[in-house]
């Protein structure tokens, strides 16, 4: 039984000091993050170039999404619509093309590395080597691949293939449509599979080992263990990987921006983020803040929609069904009580 004094002490709260200490972060965060974020939304309703101070309502969105305009953008609206849709397509193609091989590769490696039966030697070494590409900055990676896959006959890979007699003329690794997309998919996959693998490994190692033991005793094959135990239990981690990769993929910027021939931009690998940057910074003499902001806002909503979709898809179906049943039962009970009214009395 606590004395009055003890109870009194317990009621003293030190929490407010905690708030004081995190206050600087929030001040800075509001000033440098929240306000620019809100400002992006505001800017998306304003004009482009010199007309940056004119309010034009939803015209930027109209131009980007449908190529029409009510404030006389004319050809600009049409051109920007085509480019925007193309960049959106590029973004999805490059993301999907890197995510599917990446998750397959990471999953296979994660399962092998965590399998107690396989006893792979030098796991630590492989983990480090596979994670390594993620540590190198994107600029160095782009420079490395640009010099390896330079598309004239002087490029290392082209030179090798040509002298080996495999190809007659150099492959256009940097400007070709599917060649350049393939290269970026490969680079992204190569940079990120180590990261995904480590995440999936930690997920697998967090699973209850008694389930695997029980499966072994029951004589399940490793394929069965994978399909019936590992995969279903790994679902939350997979969902996490999917959502983070999707957010990262939709905002993919560095490699597509840097992987280009000289100063000429490749239209097949221009992602939405690159499009946003170009209109924000690289339009002379006046930047197109309106288009840039509107494209950011559209990207934001696409991310929200796809994210919610992924969550809805991956909801635990049994749990959802049970919840539904419980609800139906409660409803029926209520109806019963109402229907029978005073009869029971």
């Amino acid at each position: 039984m606590a004395s009055a004094a003890q109870r009194n002490i317990r009621s003293i709260s030190y929490a407010k000091y905690g708030y004081f200490f995190i206050l600087p972060f929030f001040l800075v965060y509001c000033f440098f993050q929240v306000w620019p974020l809100i400002n992006t939304f505001i800017l998306s309703f304003y004009g482009n170039g010199q007309k940056v101070e004119d309010f034009i309502g939803l015209d930027n969105f109209r131009a980007l999404l449908f190529g029409t305009s009510t404030t006389g953008m004319g050809r600009t609206a049409k051109a920007i619509h085509e480019t925007f849709i193309q960049t959106l397509g590029n973004t999805f193609i490059v993301w999907i093309g890197n995510f599917i091989p990446q998750i397959c590769l990471s999953l296979a490696l994660a399962v092998w590395f965590t399998d107690s039966k396989l006893k792979i030697k030098g796991k630590g070494f492989f983990k480090i080597v596979m994670y390594m590409p993620n540590i190198i900055t994107a600029a160095s990676v782009a420079a490395l691949y640009l010099s390896l896959f330079a598309e004239s006959e002087y490029g290392s890979v082209n030179n090798l293939l040509m002298s080996a007699g495999i190809i007659d003329s150099p492959i256009k690794f940097v400007t070709g449509c599917w060649q350049s997309r393939g290269m970026i998919m490969f680079i992204q996959c190569w940079m990120w599979f180590g990261n995904t693998m480590i995440m999936l490994m930690s997920g697998i190692m967090g699973l209850n080992p008694s389930l695997f033991e029980a499966a072994n005793i029951d004589g399940a094959s490793s394929g069965q263990v994978f399909r019936k135990i590992t995969l279903p239990l790994l679902r939350p981690i997979m969902l996490y990987t999917l959502v983070t990769s999707m957010i990262g993929g939709l905002q993919m910027y560095d490699i597509p921006y840097l992987y280009k021939k000289g100063t000429q931009r490749n239209e097949y690998t221009r992602t939405v983020a690159v499009f946003i940057y170009e209109h924000f910074r690289e339009k002379m003499p006046n930047p197109n803040y309106g288009f840039s902001a509107a494209a950011s806002v559209i990207l934001f909503f696409i991310t929200i929609i796809l994210g919610s979709f992924a969550f809805a898809m991956n909801r635990d179906k049994d749990e959802a069904m049970k919840k539904k049943e419980r609800k139906a039962y409660a409803k029926a009970l209520k109806a019963k009580q109402k229907g029978l009214g005073g009869m029971e009395i």
Partner: protein, 470 residues
């Protein structure tokens, strides 16, 4: 005790938050100090060896704390200050050099940010491509006449550099200390074996205009069995060709598309389809590497491009595979490529120093000659008399060009450049869009010349929203 802790926590919190805002707010301290010490500033004025008759005409205020110079790299400003400061009797303490350390194309965005901050600015450097953005803006640049310079002072400058520095009313607001006329460099050994050409003069006769250029390209291609292209990139050709335009790109706020465009499209298509030009792009590793093979025999090069930037690297460096096998000639048309201009902010508070600086590098021939010869690697200064003198003396010889003096060649070109006042603030974007469209057409992405023009218009409509594109 508790109170002390709380106070300490509060102070620490405020201190941490304050650091986050250190970069914000404008630096008004310099202006307050300058206004509060009039005695000191007038003393500086007297000790300045500035010429009496000019300081008298300066309409802008003097006596500020420091002269602030904005630029995107230190390649020019450092050697300039090194020479000017001792000669003018100023010290480094009086200079505030803000180096943004970015590419020239990104500098405008940095400047806009800086100007918004309201900090001190006296002189800033601009590139031809976006100079008009500031020169046409009276809030950003002051007329040179406010510093006591009339047009007569700049009589020795190459005419085209003056054109770029004028705003839409013809007022001089930007001046350049360097000229960047271009020329065409070629492999003299290949020219000898394929064309039988022995001297730059003979070569010039074979590339004197664009028709001859294409005919010679055909000759080279046939003689080499299709192996050697006359020049390396369409970008280089376009750099020179774009200088031929006889009407502005933008008229009455609308994009002007005319025969000029079609002429270039035909030329580009012809050269590319027949292998008269390689499909390489400028500023790539391949572009440099091609210079060490027999796949190309020419590069378009400007005054600054004879060193590491273009030609020396293309030759494989000092002692490289093709080092010393090059020669230079004027090429099909006079053109310029690059260069830097100086503008003065109307908010300057050091007009006397600024005037001295501008005089030293753009008016005074003796100091300009000193700079031309004194700067590491030499500078092609923006004065016809000075350059004529240097060329006449014949002291310059370039080992990569087999001892030829490139200044003698570009000097002729520079005098012939005629811009006819055609520059618009949108030129950089429009020219890039056109080259991109032509490259796409040559790569087979658009079907014909008409589609290429449509593609070009779409590109311009997308990037330049301030003009109409029908």
């Amino acid at each position: 005790m508790n109170k002390l802790k709380r106070t300490l926590a509060l102070v620490a919190t405020l201190a941490i938050s304050a650091t986050a805002f250190v970069g914000c707010g404008d630096d008004s301290s310099s202006s307050t100090t300058s206004s509060s010490t009039p005695a000191e500033s007038s003393a500086t004025e007297e000790s300045t060896p500035a010429e009496g008759e000019e300081t008298a005409e300066i309409k802008l205020p003097s006596g500020g704390d420091k002269m602030t110079i904005l630029a995107w790299n230190a390649n020019d400003v450092d050697p300039m200050l090194k020479m000017w400061l001792p000669d003018a009797g100023y010290t480094e303490d009086q200079i505030n050099f803000v180096n943004f350390n970015v590419g020239g194309g990104e500098a405008a965005a940095q400047y806009d940010q800086y100007f918004l901050g309201g900090e001190d600015v006296d002189v800033f450097m601009v590139e031809a491509d976006w100079a008009l953005k500031y020169i046409n803006d009276d809030a950003a640049t002051a007329p040179m006449s406010d510093l006591g310079f009339t047009e007569a002072y700049f009589a020795g400058q190459y005419p085209y550099t003056m054109e770029i520095g004028k705003d839409s009313n013809g007022v001089i607001k930007g001046v350049s200390w360097q000229a960047a006329p271009g020329a065409w460099c070629y492999r003299s050994d290949l020219a000898d074996s394929y064309l039988g050409v022995k001297s730059p003069e003979e070569m010039q006769a074979k590339v004197a205009d664009w028709d001859k250029f294409q005919a010679t390209a055909k000759e080279v291609s046939e003689a080499s069995g299709g192996k050697t292209a006359l020049t390396t990139t369409l970008g280089g050709i376009w750099q020179a060709f774009a200088a031929n335009r006889s009407t502005p790109w933008v008229q009455d706020g609308a994009l002007a598309v005319d025969d000029f465009c079609n002429t270039f499209i035909d030329l580009a298509k012809n050269m590319r389809d027949n292998g008269y030009v390689t499909d390489l792009n400028q500023w790539t590793d391949d572009w440099y590497a091609a210079g060490q093979t027999d796949n190309t025999m020419g590069y378009f090069v400007s005054t600054w491009g004879f060193g590491d930037s273009i030609l020396l690297t293309a030759a494989g460096g000092d002692g490289g595979a093709t080092f010393g096998k090059w020669a230079v000639t004027e090429g099909p048309t006079p053109y310029f490529w690059g260069g830097t201009w100086m503008c003065v902010s109307p908010k300057t508070d050091n007009a006397d120093m600024v005037a001295n600086f501008i005089k030293y590098f753009t008016v005074d021939e003796a100091s300009m000659e000193k700079y031309a010869l004194g700067k590491d690697g030499g500078e092609y200064v923006n004065n016809m008399n000075v350059m004529q003198k240097i060329v006449d003396e014949g002291s310059n010889s370039n080992a990569n060009l087999g001892g030829q003096d490139q200044f003698a060649v570009v000097h002729e070109n520079a005098k012939a450049i005629d811009l006819k006042g055609l520059i618009t603030p949108y030129d950089a974007s429009i020219k890039t869009a056109f080259l991109d469209a032509v490259n796409a057409y040559c790569a087979g992405e658009t079907a014909d010349a008409a589609a290429c023009i449509e593609d070009f218009k779409d590109r311009v409509a997308e990037s330049v929203t301030d003009i109409t594109v029908e």
